[in-house]
C-alpha cells in the first residue's frame, strides 16, 4: 500500500530521517513468502501422509478378501470385515442418537430458552464439553454404559459413548444454522397465527437443514475416526465374527491400532490398507453430506 514514496532530496535539506521504504517493503515481501510457506507446510505434510499411506497400503487394500474376510494371524491374509461392520454400526447409532437430541437441544437454546443464568450455564457447559478429551468420555462410557446399565464391553456401549462425544459439536453447529434463519421468515409465519412449534417445524428446520447436516457429518466423521474412547470402553483388536449391537466389537481405528502394534513386518501394510478403508468411509460420508446439502439448498 505505502509504496512509491520517494523523498525529494533537493527539498530535503535537513534529511536525518531515513524512511528506508525499499528495504522495509523487501522485508515485507520476504515475510509474505514465509507466511505462505507456513500455510503450505501443513498441506505438504498432508499430501506426504496420504502418499505414504497409499504407497504402503494400496497393494494390500486391493488384495482379494481384504474387505470381505475376518482378520487373520498372518499379515497378508484375512481382512477387516468385522471392523467395517462395527464402524458402520457405530456411525449409524451415533446418527440416530445425536441428530434428534442435538438438534432438539439447539432448537431449545435458540428458540425457546429464556435469557437466564441457568441457560447461560447450559451454554458454557456445552462449549466446555466440546473440549473434554475423547479418552475422558471413555471413562464416562465405561462407568455408565458398561457397568451402570450393564451392557458390558459391547458395541452399544461404544456407540453411546461416541454419541455423547459428538453431541456438543452437533449442538454448536446446529445452533449456528438455526441462528442464520432470517427472522422475517418466523415473523411471517407468526403473523398468520401459526403456533411456535409449527413455525419451527415448517419454516426454521427446513431452512436450517443444510447447516445442520454439515455439523452432523463433521461430528460423525470424528466419531468414526475416534479410537481413544473405544479402547477404554473395551473395543477389541481382533474379532473373528460380525458384531451385533450387544456383542464385543471393534472399529476401523482400533483395527489400525491393533495392526500397528504387531511386531511382525507385514502388519504395517495391513494398517495402511485399513487406513485407506477408513479414509474412504469418511470421504463417502462427506460426499453424502455435500449431495444432501445441495439437494436441500435448491428450493
Amino acid at each position: 500500500m505505502a509504496t512509491s514514496y520517494q523523498p525529494n532530496s533537493s527539498l530535503d535539506s535537513t534529511a536525518e530521517f531515513t524512511d528506508n521504504v525499499e528495504s522495509r517493503e523487501t522485508l515485507g515481501k520476504v515475510f509474505e513468502v514465509i507466511f505462505l510457506l507456513g500455510l503450505l507446510i501443513g498441506l505438504f505434510i498432508l499430501a506426504l501422509l496420504l502418499f505414504d499411506i497409499f504407497k504402503d497400503g494400496l497393494g494390500r487394500f486391493l488384495s482379494p478378501g481384504f474387505l470381505t474376510e475376518t482378520p487373520s494371524r498372518f499379515a497378508d491374509q484375512g481382512g477387516i470385515r468385522p471392523a467395517i461392520i462395527s464402524s458402520v454400526l457405530l456411525g449409524t447409532v451415533v446418527i440416530l442418537v445425536t441428530v434428534p437430541i442435538g438438534v432438539g437441544a439447539a432448537l431449545y437454546l435458540e428458540e425457546y430458552a429464556p435469557k437466564a443464568w441457568w441457560t447461560a450455564i447450559i451454554e458454557i457447559n456445552i462449549s466446555n464439553l466440546a473440549g473434554v478429551p475423547s479418552i475422558v468420555y471413555g471413562l464416562l462410557g465405561l462407568g455408565v454404559f458398561n457397568y451402570l446399565l450393564g451392557f458390558g464391553p459391547a458395541l452399544i456401549s461404544g456407540a453411546l459413548t461416541l454419541s455423547l462425544l459428538s453431541l456438543p459439536v452437533i449442538i454448536v453447529t446446529s445452533r449456528e444454522a438455526i441462528r442464520a434463519v432470517p427472522d422475517s421468515l418466523r415473523n411471517a409465519s407468526y403473523g398468520l397465527g401459526v403456533t411456535k412449534w409449527r413455525t419451527i417445524s415448517s419454516h426454521v428446520i427446513p431452512y436450517a437443514i443444510p447447516g445442520i447436516l454439515t455439523g452432523v457429518i463433521i461430528s460423525v466423521s470424528r466419531a468414526i475416526g475416534d479410537a481413544a474412547s473405544l479402547i477404554v470402553v473395551g473395543a477389541v483388536g481382533f474379532l473373528t465374527f460380525d458384531p451385533g449391537l450387544f456383542q464385543r466389537f471393534m472399529a476401523l481405528p482400533i483395527q489400525i491400532y491393533s495392526y500397528i502394534t504387531r511386531p511382525e513386518p507385514g502388519f504395517a501394510g495391513a494398517a495402511a490398507a485399513t487406513i485407506i478403508a477408513l479414509l474412504l468411509l469418511i470421504l463417502a460420508l462427506n460426499g453424502v453430506a455435500i449431495y444432501i446439502r445441495q439437494r436441500f439448498s435448491i428450493r
Binding site: G38, L46, D52, E111, L139, L140, R222
Partner: protein, 313 residues
C-alpha cells in the same frame, strides 16, 4: 409449509387462527419440554463425568495417599515395587505438548495471517478448508505416520529411540495447526479495516501494520486459540500412544521414549484390570488430573476469548 392447517373449510380455518385451540396449546408445551430435555442431556453428561471420575478417584486416594501421588517421582503401578508419583506422566504430556505447540503456533499463525492479509478471497476460500482437512484426519493415522514415516526419517539425522516424544509431538502439532489457525483467523478478521488504513495512511508498510497493529489488536483471540491448542494436545491419545511409547520418565529429552497421561490410560484399559482393583482406580485418578487440566485450559481460553470480544463493536 403446506401443513398449516388440515381443514379446508374457510370458516373453520379463520376460527382456528383467532381462537385458542386447547389441544394445540398442550402439544406446544410438550414440545417445549422435550426440547428442554434434549438440552439437559449435555448437563447430565457433565454431571456423569464428574461423578464417575471423582467417585473412583476418591476410592484411589483411600488406598494411595496424596503425598504418594503428588510428591513421588516414579510411576510404576504395574511393577512389584509400586510407585504412584504422577509427575512422570504429566512431564511426558507437557513435553509432547510443548513440541506440538512449537509446530502449531508458527504454522497456525502464518496460515491465519496469510489467509486474512495476503490471499485473494477466492484463494482463501480454497486454502482454508484444505488446511482444516488436517483436523479431520483420524489421530490414529497421525500415529501411524509418526511411527513409520517421521521417526525413520528423523533417525537419519538425529539419534532417536524408536518410540520418542519428538515424532509424536511434531505430528500432534500438524494436527493442531487448524485449531490455532482457525480461531486466530477469526480474531484477525475481526480487527476493523479502519485500523489498518489508519496505519497505511501514516506510511507504514503492510508487514509493520500486521505486526504492530493487527496482531496486537487480535491478541486475545490468538492467545485463546493457543490455549485451546494446548488443551487439545494435552488430551490427544492415539498419536502419543503409538509413537511416544510407554515409559514414564521425568525428562526433557525429546529423543527418548516417554509416557503421557492419556497413553497410560489407554494402556491400562487395554489390559484386563478388574473393576475395583487398584490398577483400575489409577485409570480414574489419572483421568481426573487430565480432566481438571483440560477443563482449566478450556475455561481460561473461553474467558480470554469472551472478555475482549466486544472491544471494537
Amino acid at each position: 409449509m403446506q401443513n398449516l392447517n388440515s381443514q379446508d373449510d374457510p370458516y373453520l380455518l379463520s376460527r382456528q387462527s383467532l381462537d385458542k385451540n386447547p389441544s394445540e396449546d398442550i402439544s406446544e408445551k410438550i414440545v417445549g419440554v422435550i426440547l428442554f430435555a434434549c438440552a439437559l442431556v449435555s448437563v447430565l453428561t457433565t454431571f456423569g463425568i464428574v461423578i464417575i471420575i471423582f467417585q473412583e478417584t476418591f476410592g484411589f486416594f483411600q488406598e494411595v495417599s496424596f503425598a504418594q501421588f503428588f510428591l513421588d517421582t516414579k510411576w510404576t503401578p504395574l511393577f512389584a515395587d509400586r510407585h504412584f508419583g504422577v509427575w512422570p506422566l504429566i512431564n511426558g504430556t507437557f513435553l509432547t505438548t510443548a513440541i506440538a505447540m512449537a509446530v502449531a503456533i508458527p504454522l497456525g499463525l502464518s496460515s491465519a495471517i496469510y489467509l486474512s492479509e495476503y490471499a485473494q478471497p477466492k484463494v482463501a476460500a480454497v486454502l482454508r478448508p484444505a488446511v482444516e482437512l488436517l483436523a479431520g484426519i483420524p489421530t490414529v493415522v497421525y500415529g501411524y505416520f509418526a511411527l513409520l514415516f517421521v521417526t525413520p526419517l528423523l533417525r537419519n539425522i538425529i539419534p532417536l529411540e524408536i518410540f520418542n516424544a519428538l515424532s509424536a509431538g511434531l505430528m500432534m502439532g500438524v494436527m493442531i495447526t487448524p485449531t490455532v489457525g482457525s480461531i486466530s483467523l477469526d480474531a484477525i478478521k475481526a480487527v476493523p479495516r479502519s485500523l489498518r488504513e489508519g496505519s497505511y495512511a501514516l506510511g507504514i508498510t503492510k508487514l509493520e501494520t500486521i505486526f504492530k497493529v493487527v496482531l496486537p489488536a487480535a491478541l486475545s483471540g490468538i492467545i485463546a486459540s493457543i490455549i485451546l491448542g494446548i488443551s487439545r494436545a494435552v488430551g490427544e491419545t492415539m498419536t502419543v500412544l503409538i509413537a511416544a511409547g510407554l515409559q514414564p520418565k521425568l525428562t526433557v529429552n525429546f529423543a527418548e521414549s516417554i509416557e503421557t497421561m492419556t497413553a497410560y490410560m489407554a494402556q491400562i484399559s487395554g489390559g484386563d484390570s478388574p473393576r475395583g482393583s487398584l490398577n483400575f482406580k489409577t485409570l480414574y485418578a489419572v483421568g481426573a488430573v487430565l480432566f481438571l487440566i483440560t477443563l482449566a485450559l478450556n475455561i481460561v481460553s473461553y474467558w480470554i476469548a469472551n472478555r475482549f470480544k466486544e472491544k471494537y463493536d
